[in-house]
């Protein structure tokens, strides 16, 4: 019993913290090598991410995207699937949002339009995930391969649509015309103003509430419902699932539809919340970062939330860092992310065995 509790403490708390610390130690060494004062850099980074309202706004705005894609990866992972296609699913989600916003925006009031646009984001993301899911479930094509390919397909399709269908005549820009005003989500500033609270202007909008609702919903779904039970059974032991009369093919479809819908929500944050038009590459990087977020967050909604916050802070603080210190480019931030992914993803269990031994010997003496 004692050992089990220790193990839990180890894998939920101690290991992630140690992994991140290791990544930071290597970052420090890197900074020393390229001649940057690590202490100074850390201060700028933290200050940039959390030091003032606008910075916090940016951090949480990035966090929102990472929560969506992180959850998307996590839920598929529980069904034993590796969804690499969050990038494409988010992109196509944007198509759904734009069709609703541009097509119906002029006659529907926001109260109908916004839910519809959000649903469209989910439906289009899910539909884009459904094809690889079907190929995996009924044709045996490996989902990692197909979802990667579907990222490229989504990118090409969206470029085509943006250039040939959505772009405004005479503009020559790969962007759609602006959405009508009725298709825009409250910014956090506007939202807080309702309660008489002032908040600096930033891209942060009420999508973050949707993201938090998704965290709770995913947790309830996975651990508190029979569908989640069946999904986790398929992921943990497909043979036991068949023994239990669960159809793994249907579970694969279910998991990927939810996963795709969650990824599609990135378009809600980006297009309804910030850009107010369909633009080229609004999804760039979020789908892939979602894999790292899910990995770091141990595929648990709370973990995903924390990891998303860390990545959000790195994005925002890193941008600040690049701005403040000329010798730091955005690439350095990418390197820091890479180190975090390396130590908390690829080398996740590096400390496990020695720590376990140490903790056990400790427990024995006690």
């Amino acid at each position: 019993m004692k050992a089990a509790t220790l193990n839990k403490f180890l894998s939920i708390f101690l290991l992630p913290v140690l992994n991140i610390l290791t990544a930071f130690i290597f970052t420090t060494l890197l900074f020393l090598v390229i001649g940057i004062d690590p202490w100074e850099a850390a201060k700028i980074l933290v200050q940039g991410a959390f030091g003032y309202e606008e910075g916090i706004g940016y951090t949480l705005y990035y966090t929102t995207n990472f929560i969506f894609t992180g959850l998307a990866v996590a839920i598929a992972f529980h069904a034993g699937l590796f969804n690499i296609g969050g990038e494409g699913q988010a992109y196509i989600g944007g198509l759904g949002v734009s069709l609703v916003a541009l097509g119906l925006g002029s006659f529907l009031p926001p109260i109908f339009l916004l839910p519809l646009a959000i649903l469209a984001a989910a439906a289009f993301g899910a539909a884009w995930a459904a094809i690889p899911a079907y190929l995996q479930a009924y044709r045996g094509s490996h989902i990692v391969i197909t979802t990667i390919m579907f990222n490229f397909l989504a990118a090409s399709l969206m470029v085509y649509l943006l250039v040939n269908v959505f772009s405004e005549a005479g503009q020559g820009m790969p962007a759609s015309r602006a959405f009508p005003d009725s298709a825009s989500l409250w910014t956090w500033q506007a939202f807080m103003a309702q309660f008489g609270i002032e908040f600096a202007a930033s891209p942060l909008n009420i999508s973050i509430i949707l993201a938090l609702i998704c965290c709770v919903a995913v947790w309830v779904f996975l651990w508190k419902t029979r569908w989640g039970y069946e999904l986790r059974t398929v992921g943990a032991n497909p043979e036991a699932a068949i023994y239990a009369g669960i159809n793994p093919k249907r579970i694969i479809m279910l998991a990927m539809l939810i996963s795709g819908a969650l990824a599609g929500f990135v378009a809600v944050n980006e297009l309804l919340g910030v850009q107010h038009r369909l633009v080229l590459g609004f999804n760039t990087g979020y789908g892939f970062a979602g894999i790292a977020v899910a990995l770091m967050g141990r595929n648990h909604p709370i973990g995903v939330m924390l990891a998303a916050l860390l990545f959000g802070a790195l994005y925002q603080g890193g941008a600040e860092l690049a701005f403040e210190i000329p010798s730091v480019t955005r690439d350095v931030v990418v390197v820091i992310q890479g180190l975090i992914i390396l130590f908390s993803g690829a080398l996740e269990f590096m400390y496990r065995a020695p720590l376990q031994r140490w903790l056990l010997s400790f427990a024995r003496e006690a």
Binding site: T225, N237, A240, Y243
Partner: protein, 515 residues
């Protein structure tokens, strides 16, 4: 008495908090067959792994032919003349016997020369010990008994003088086991020392000169085989008197619950694994299916449970006619009142990362009493699990403990409690006591018998003849996917079952039994 070929003095080994071996001392006299018997988890395998160099002992001493040695890996063990035949053979399936034996002793970049040398030496060994094996056929085309002989030849080729056999008869028919024992006697006559690890008392009595009993990591007794008995050994193994029989009511059977007609199951290659099998199970009886593992029993069980499709035939159960055109999945079979304890609890019966109480609803997760509108009713599930844990003595009781943290016997009890607890009309049971220790075996047998006594039907598949004969009212024997005979409870003995398992019974004689 001869000098010790292998001697252990005070060997201890622990893994974390578990004392796998405590102060083990043992002397195996040269040129004898020495049995080591104990329940699963008694520490037999750990001890053998120490002798063979997979683990290092924390303390203690190993002496080979009187010399104190340290064995760091299997290479050293081989150099010291120790050979090991594992329970699961270490053969490359696609290689021939010759290639397998040569593996690791090729003696140069080009194979030709080594091949000649191995062939010559094998010819000598075969002549010496009567170990005939075909050298040029891929081993996966050979019978299990022959594969085992190749394993033995492998060790002899490497000049083994101390041979360790780990549960060697688990995969053999009784006849193949007899052949093995003959070979072991020949080896013994030549001065080879043999260490036989087993949990089967019968084998110990049949073949060994001395026997050592292990219990909970300790060596609890050494006996001359001639001076001991099976009940004494059984008692030493579990540390208390074992009741050898279960409480069986004499009763007449009721209506037929399950009827199977000409059931054929084909694998992906289209080969019939189950071939035109017909059988019936009535209320109040246990029908046992005996057979060497891999003769279609698993496929039969899975087809009946709705896990794999069948290609021909018909199953009637609970008023439902199931045909290949109208298949029924495992969930529906449960609803109809058929429960299933699968052969492999790790692969099918449990979801190992799940908490015990979560594994306790596997297959029943949609049942109303476990749900609460849209969500699972966790408190109700845990309450029921706690009751069952009490009733089936599942230890530890903690419902939150991961399914993988229970011992084999307790994992099996979790599965059994779930399937029996669902109150089915018919129970399919596969290998109910595989990897389960003696205390739990008796307990599990009694629970299965209780179901029968209550008038439920049971179809039992097991490779353990003892188990089949203890529990069954009727015994069907499968070999090569067909039922080779049926034997009533009263007529059953190992002889006749063994012959049917090898499908070697005179056809005229078996006609009366054929299903």
């Amino acid at each position: 008495m001869n000098a010790c070929a292998l001697e252990l003095i005070g060997v201890s080994k622990r893994f974390g908090l578990v004392k796998a071996n405590q102060d083990i001392s043992l002397c195996v006299p040269s040129g004898t067959i020495h049995g080591i018997i104990g329940e699963n988890g008694a520490g037999k395998s750990t001890l053998m792994s120490i002798i063979y160099g997979f683990y290092q002992a924390d303390s203690g001493e190993i002496r080979i032919q009187g010399q104190t040695v340290t064995i760091h890996d299997s290479k050293q063990a081989i150099a010291l003349g120790i050979g090991m035949v594992h329970q699961h053979f270490m053969l490359v399936d696609e290689f021939t016997a010759l290639e397998n034996i040569m593996l690791g002793a090729e003696g140069g970049a080009l194979l030709h020369e080594g091949e000649q040398r191995v062939r010559k030496r094998l010819a000598e060994l075969s002549r010496l010990y009567g170990l005939e094996v075909p050298l040029d056929i891929p081993v996966n085309q050979l019978a299990v008994g022959v594969q085992q002989r190749i394993e033995i030849l492998k060790t002899l080729y490497r000049e083994a003088r101390i041979l360790i056999l780990d549960e060697p008869t688990g995969v053999l028919t009784p006849q193949e086991a007899d052949d093995l024992f003959k070979i072991l006697h020949t080896l013994k006559a030549d001065g080879v020392t043999i260490l036989l690890i087993t949990h089967k008392l019968r084998e110990i009595m049949a073949i060994t000169d001395q026997v050592s009993v292990m219990r909970q990591g300790q060596m609890v007794a050494h006996r001359e085989t001639a001076a001991t008995s099976m009940p004494e050994l059984a008692e030493l193994m579990v540390g208390r008197k074992v009741r050898q029989s279960v409480d069986r009511h004499e009763q007449s059977t009721g209506q037929v619950l399950l009827e199977v007609r000409n059931l054929t199951v084909r694998d992906k290659q289209g080969i019939a694994r189950v071939n035109k099998v017909s059988l019936q199970v009535a209320a109040g009886e246990i029908v046992g299916i005996a057979g060497v593992s891999g003769n279609g029993q698993s496929e039969l069980l899975q087809a009946l449970a709705g896990i794999i499709p069948f290609s021909e035939g018909e199953i009637s159960f609970a008023g439902q006619n199931i045909t290949p055109k109208q298949p029924v999945n495992a969930a529906r079979m449960r609803e109809l009142g058929m429960a299933h304890v699968p052969e492999d609890r790790h692969r099918m019966g449990l979801v190992l990362p799940f908490a015990a109480y979560q594994s306790s609803i596997l297959g029943y997760q949609r049942v109303d009493k476990y749900n609460h509108g849209l969500t699972l009713n966790d408190p109700a599930i845990r309450t029921e699990y706690t009751d069952r844990a009490e009733q089936f003595d599942i230890r530890p009781r903690d419902p939150f403990l991961g399914s993988n943290n229970f011992s084999g016997g307790n994992q099996q009890k979790i599965v059994l409690a779930r399937e029996i607890g669902a109150d089915p009309q018919l129970l399919l049971v596969g290998q109910p006591t595989r990897g389960v220790d003696i205390g739990a075996i008796e307990f599990i047998h009694q629970h299965i018998m209780d179901m029968r006594n209550e008038g439920k039907g049971i179809l039992l598949v097991s490779v353990e003849l003892d188990e089949i004969m203890t529990l069954s009212d009727r015994i069907l024997v499968m070999c090569g996917g067909v039922i080779t005979g049926e034997v009533g409870r009263e007529q059953a003995n190992e002889q006749i079952l063994g012959l049917l398992m090898a499908n070697a019974l005179d056809p005229n004689e078996s006609q009366g039994h054929s299903a």
